[in-house]
Amino acid sequence: MLSALGYGSVIAALLGAALMAGFGYRAGLSRNGNEFSATIARRAAYFCFFAMCAGMVTMEIALLTRDFSVDYVSRVGSIETPNYYTAISLWSSLDGSILFWGWILAGYAALFAFTRRREISAHVSAGANVESPRGGLVPGLKTTPLVIAVIGTTGLFFFGMLAGPANPFGLVSPAPLNGPGPNPLLQNHPLMGLHPPMLYFGFVGMVVPFAFAIAGLLQGNVEARWLRDSRRWMVGAWAFLTMGIIGGGWWSYEVLGWGGAWAWDPVENASFLPWLTATAFLHSAMVQERRGMLKTWNLSLMIGTYLLTLFGTFLTRSGVIDSVHAFTEGVIGPLFLGFIAFITLGSLALIGWRSNRLHAPGQIESAVSRESAFILNNLLFVGFTFTVLLGTMFPLVIEALQNEKISVGAPYFDMVASPIGLALLFLMGVGPALPWRHASMDQIKRSFKWPVLMGVAAAAAVMAFGMRQFLPILTVSFAAFAMTTIVEEFAKGIDARRRIADRSFFGALSDLFVRNGQRYGGYVVHVGVIVVALAISVSWTWKSEREATLRVGERVAVEDYEVEFVEVWGRQEAQRFVIGATFNTYRDGRFLGEEQPRLNIYNNSEAPIATPAVRSSLTSDLYLTLITFDSENQEHATVRAIVNPGIIWLWIGGMIMGLGALVAIWPRGKSRLRAASEEMISDVATPQPKPAFEPILEPAFVTDEADVT
């Protein structure tokens, strides 16, 4: 029964996507497009979302009631798995995660449609024409149905997969009595419920900016409102992606037991690649906003980011990354590749067709200006993307060409990433301090006096404390440099607000966030990046590790910590057997508490999953992994004790980044009027691409802000 219900929901969603695409393109492209088709496209998005919600709920019910007649449940469910891990096993296997992906996709479509729900009525009540005399909607109203149509088109692919080759709702008859349970690694830590959804929200969210890009190309027009809205969707997806990546690192640190958070594993790289291009876009979009330049480049970044999310998913889900020969297995891989090829070629054709319309009127006036800092930033981010992509793909290329297996691992990526990361950190201190267009020598001296002084002072200070390694010194110095720039930016802004509006210090500070959240939220993100950079540098440089075999009562010392072996124990749980060792931990001779690193042996796998015990503090973490123990007499155990200084700041920095992004996209009532008047002025002042188009008078209150608040 659940099987039929679920499959019916997927088919309904497929129908919804077809309506989104059909009526959306009709409203956006055809001369017959009218208010009716735009409305149907929007409602189809709601319908699609409700259908996918039904599908999701059905799957969750099937999972939680252990209905093994449903194919997916029979493959990832088991009676013994606790309910929490059963609920999240939705994304523990391929077709379940495509279902989850599809649900989020429909959710984004519906949310987008919802924010634009009053667009047409506001247009009418403002007295503007909805339909152009030459047929079709007026240009200002075409973006919404086109964006919905593009999302619907991608929906056709994903829902089509769910209806066909990746159907999770298949009927298993006769139903097995029990299933194997999810992959042991995915049911070993509660954090598994956190970062995969974050990553999915980030990955799938990139479809909205992509749809904006295609809508802009189809119309041959990317103006102020288009840019502002598409960027806000990008910031939202970017924030999820950032939290997902950092959360994934945290999961990996808490679960995998090797004492680090980032290993340049292909799966990690796949999440990092779209993050890099999205970050590049968030910066270069400002050049377009201020100077009207880089339109085609920005479109390419939006499309490229979406392609990288698809490519990353393909790479990590199809098994290709382990060997090119895995490519032949299954039909989903080739389908995915076909979809990627379709998107790539279609986008390239559109860009080629429209690029002359998007030619930028502006120019870079000086190499020392904020816009050239942004362009340099883009060079670094895109170069970084290329490097990571090359390193990730290289073993496959070599295997395909020379039939030889090689590895490209962490030592390679660390080597190439450090200089790029450092250059970006440095640039982060330069960009915000440079004026647009052109900087005079005088301005440069004024802007950089304090940042340079602080950078040098920081380097001198850490060297005085005995630091000798080159890279960490440079990191600390650049971090201080960039941080001072940010502090100066805030100081200038607060100072101005206090004088103009006669505000208190905190009043002025909150004014900055309220009035210009995009900019000051961005600076908060920068603070997060600085914290992350320092955490990476410190934890990698001063990580220290000891491995020791201890008899009961014996101690081993690592840095200022001591670990004392107490006992080994075992415990049978429903879904696993747990072997643990208890250690007393001390810091500077003071008793901290007991820690119990464990080995979990799940019923569906003979491989034990080592679960480290982590004792965190703001200064350093003590990280214990049980390696082996005396299984006969329980007299001794081998433990690996790692002291990771400052690694907690990696997660804190990630949260600061997410917080900054939230500030940047937070809907603000006050900016509504300004945004609306900006719209009218720029629309009136902007020459339309073809005289046949009517001048658009955008209705004043149809921005996202207006609807959400």
Binding site: P184, L256, G493, A548
Partner: protein, 190 residues
């Protein structure tokens, strides 16, 4: 992320099956990689710490053969621990890191190296990023120089004068700057 299942399975088939006799584990040298290696406990002192660091350094560049992108130094799989033992005893025998690396490449193929040797086709993975950055930088520089010349030619036109535009930004009212800018942009029609 790292999955090291089979290795751990072997290393801890300890649920009554295998017995781990730590005391009898002795260095057997590179000739016999199947024997467990001594733990550091048996060699205390500062020399041992230095040796540990070298083992870790070399281990970090070698791939754990049964893991997914995990290095020998990080992995707690049995085979990685054996490889650490081999590295240790080879170091004690006075072998250089290069010789140790060569030994593992001979046994496992170039796949064992996490940082591929910079030779042959592998050069591309090292030179590719360098080339990309140089090319990008070059294109950018050419572009900037070209527009720089155009600007110099257009300097006479008042609204193109960069100084007035630049000075605007440094004007005292920092918050009002945004508002002025969009107006400017709108009037310029960009």
């Amino acid at each position: 992320m790292k999955i090291c299942s089979r290795a751990l399975a072997v290393s801890i088939a300890l649920i009554g099956i295998a017995t781990l006799d730590l005391d009898s584990a002795r260095a057997q040298g590179a000739e016999d990689p199947n024997q467990a290696q001594p733990s550091q406990q048996e060699m205390p002192g500062p020399a041992a710490a230095e040796l540990d660091a070298m083992v870790a350094e070399i281990g970090a560049t070698l791939r754990c053969p049964v893991c997914r992108q995990q290095s020998v130094a990080e992995s707690s799989a049995r085979i990685s621990r054996e490889m650490q033992g081999i590295i240790r005893s080879m170091l004690i025998d006075g072998k250089t890191p290069e010789e140790i690396e060569a030994y593992f490449v001979e046994s496992y193929g170039p796949w064992i190296l996490l940082r591929p040797k910079a030779e042959g086709a592998n050069l591309f993975v090292y030179l590719g990023p360098l080339g990309a950055f140089l090319l990008g930088g070059l294109l950018l520089a050419v572009r900037l120089r070209k527009t720089g010349r155009e600007i110099a030619a257009a300097e006479a036109t008042p609204e193109r004068n960069p100084d007035t535009a630049a000075n605007r930004d440094s004007a005292a009212d920092h918050v009002g700057e945004e508002d002025r800018d969009w107006l400017d942009a709108a009037l310029r029609g960009s």
